[in-house]
């Protein structure tokens, strides 16, 4: 998944889309995922990292990451060609 290049991420969880003027709040784990995507990491890499860092299981990460990625798409924070 490719996050729009001009999206601004602050360390406090504030997300800004300068193209639309929309702003968003994101929790710490969500912020770390957005940063990973911005850094070009793959979905599989992110899952692996989350599993190693958090007290949870693979299935939960699988479901929640899927849901989060759908939200990012719905909020128009991804590259256009991925939103279809």
């Amino acid at each position: 998944m490719k996050i729009l290049k001009n999206i601004a991420l602050s360390d406090t969880g504030f997300v800004f889309n300068p193209s639309t003027g929309d702003s968003f709040s994101v929790n710490p784990i969500g912020l770390s995922i957005l940063k990973d995507f911005k850094d070009g990491k793959s979905e599989a890499d992110i899952k692996k990292r989350l599993l190693s860092e958090y007290q949870t299981d693979r299935e939960t990460i699988e479901k929640d990451l899927y849901d989060f990625m759908k939200m990012i798409e719905q909020l128009h924070l991804t590259e256009y060609h991925e939103q279809a």
Binding site: V15, D22, S23, F24, S25, V26, N27, P28, I29, G30, I33, L34, S52, E53, Y54, Q55, T56, T60, D64, L65, D67, F68, K70, M71, I72, Q74, L75
Partner: protein
């Protein structure tokens, strides 16, 4: 390295400068314990969902209401409204506190008798009393509140037949300045129906008129309406004294005081808008005291308060079955309780708290029940922390009507547990099972067997 606590990733659009239709209040303060009992332990022992009632809160609320009225008026009697919650253990808490019983059906009447309430302390209200009910009430000297002329005439016939003089009151409806005006119970004050009924009783000489009663509404938010009703009932009582030299024993103001729940569509929460019991007490007692009774004729003031005495004592504990994302991006949580057991979800925005610690991040959520029915919505929008499957929640202020209006529909009715002042959790009603559903069914002989063929199976 120690792993961090997991929380589902969340992202939400920030809408600055716009009113948030979901309200400003978030419910991320967890309710992990009720009266010292851990929610997770209660669910482990009694299952999920489970209704929980706090004995301490019931008793405290009752005593507070009694104090509010008895410090303002010399003669006050509460009568527990059985229809609000007629689990016997609950009824007996109120009876232990000194409350009479107020019933609206034959089976409720029998429950009160079985609970050991003396007949003369059971007020029989309601529009539907069978001959059998009326005979029992006459035999036990219970006050019978007459709802309509058909009942008045039937009661007169039964009095003759049984050679008894039943104790009766008339139910009176009236304009108290609120909309909609409840005019379906009893006889109207303004158009003279109430006086017609009084005259028939007094001149008929078969029934003993001992009181007047009203039931002006439910979830009333205006103490002034009660002041108006109390004044009009007092006017009837004083008129009866003047016309027939008859002193009535009581004025019964019925029920209807609001609890602290928030009605759907309310701008402010119920905790901020609902009058206190002291405000209702002040309005009613002032109206009666100023009506013109001489001191020795001051009637007993009866209150059939239900909702306001039990709602805050009740909690529904439940669990998340699943989470999903709706087509418009809203989060939806499916709970293991729905409108089948939380009937009041149709008219309240119930306060719902998570039962475990969360961070301060929240999400607007639609909360659905488990039924395969579109109407099964517990909260159409509530701001909650990210709940995951099997997390527990606590629904607050559910003690009134849910444990009587609940439906056996698709899912079974759950256990009810009383958190006792003895520090123990007591099961006061067991979870229902298939045997409860089928116990009244009868299978005709010709339908007992069948053999599905492969063709039929298609």
């Amino acid at each position: 390295m120690k792993k961090q606590l997991y929380e589902r990733p969340l992202i939400q659009r920030i809408n600055t400068g716009l009113m948030n239709k979901f309200g400003t209040k978030t419910e991320y303060a967890p309710t992990s314990h009720i009266d010292g009992f851990a929610v997770k332990d209660l669910i482990k022992e009694f299952g999920s969902p489970v209704f929980v009632l706090s004995e301490q809160t019931i008793r405290n609320t009752y005593r507070e209401a009694v104090r509010a009225f008895k410090t303002r008026y010399p003669r006050v009697q509460f009568a527990w409204s059985y229809k609000t919650n007629y689990i016997n253990a609950v009824c007996n808490i109120f009876h232990q506190e000194g409350s009479w019983a107020e019933v609206v059906s034959g089976f409720e009447y029998q429950k009160a008798i079985n609970n050991g309430v003396p007949g003369h302390n059971i007020i029989f209200n309601g529009p539907d009393k069978t001959d059998e009910d009326l005979r029992a009430a006459i035999t036990n000297n219970s006050p019978i509140h007459i709802d309509h002329l058909d009942e008045l005439y039937r009661l007169t016939e039964l009095a003759e037949e049984m050679n008894k003089r039943p104790n009766v009151a008339i139910r009176v409806n009236m304009d108290t300045g609120i909309y909609p005006m409840w005019d379906r119970f009893g006889f109207n004050y303004e158009n003279g129906q109430a006086w017609d009924a009084i005259n028939k009783i007094m001149l008929g000489e078969r029934l003993e008129l001992i009181g007047v009663h009203c039931h002006i509404g439910t979830f009333m938010l205006s103490p002034q309406a009660y002041a108006t009703a109390a004044f009009k009932l007092s006017d009837l009582a004083l008129g009866i004294k003047k016309k027939y030299n008859k002193t009535l024993q009581y004025i019964d103001m019925g029920g209807g005081f609001a609890s602290k729940n928030t009605l759907k569509g309310s701008y402010l929460p119920g905790t901020d808008t609902v009058p206190t019991i002291d405000q209702f007490a002040e309005a009613i007692t002032t109206a009666i005291l100023n009506a013109g009774f001489i001191e020795k004729d001051l009637p007993l003031l009866i209150l059939e308060t239900g909702r306001a005495l039990i709602d805050e004592a009740g909690y529904l504990l439940g669990s998340v079955i699943a989470n999903k994302r709706l087509s418009d991006g809203r989060r939806a949580s499916i709970m293991d309780f729905g409108v089948n057991i939380l009937f009041t979800a149709f008219w309240y925005d119930h306060k719902i708290s998570p039962a475990q610690e969360f961070s301060s991040y929240t999400e607007d959520t639609v909360m659905y029940g488990p039924l395969c029915m579109n109407i099964d919505v517990v909260r159409s929008n509530v701001t909650l922390p990210p709940l995951k499957k099997d997390d527990h929640v606590v629904v607050h202020t559910v003690g009134a009507y849910n444990m009587t209006q609940w439906m056996q529909f698709i899912a079974m009715r759950p256990s009810v547990v009383l958190l006792g002042i003895d520090g123990k959790a007591h099961l006061i009603r067991s979870k229902e099972g298939l045997e409860n559903i089928e116990m009244n069914e009868v299978m005709p002989e010709f339908l007992k067997n069948h053999q599905l063929s492969v063709a039929n199976a298609k």
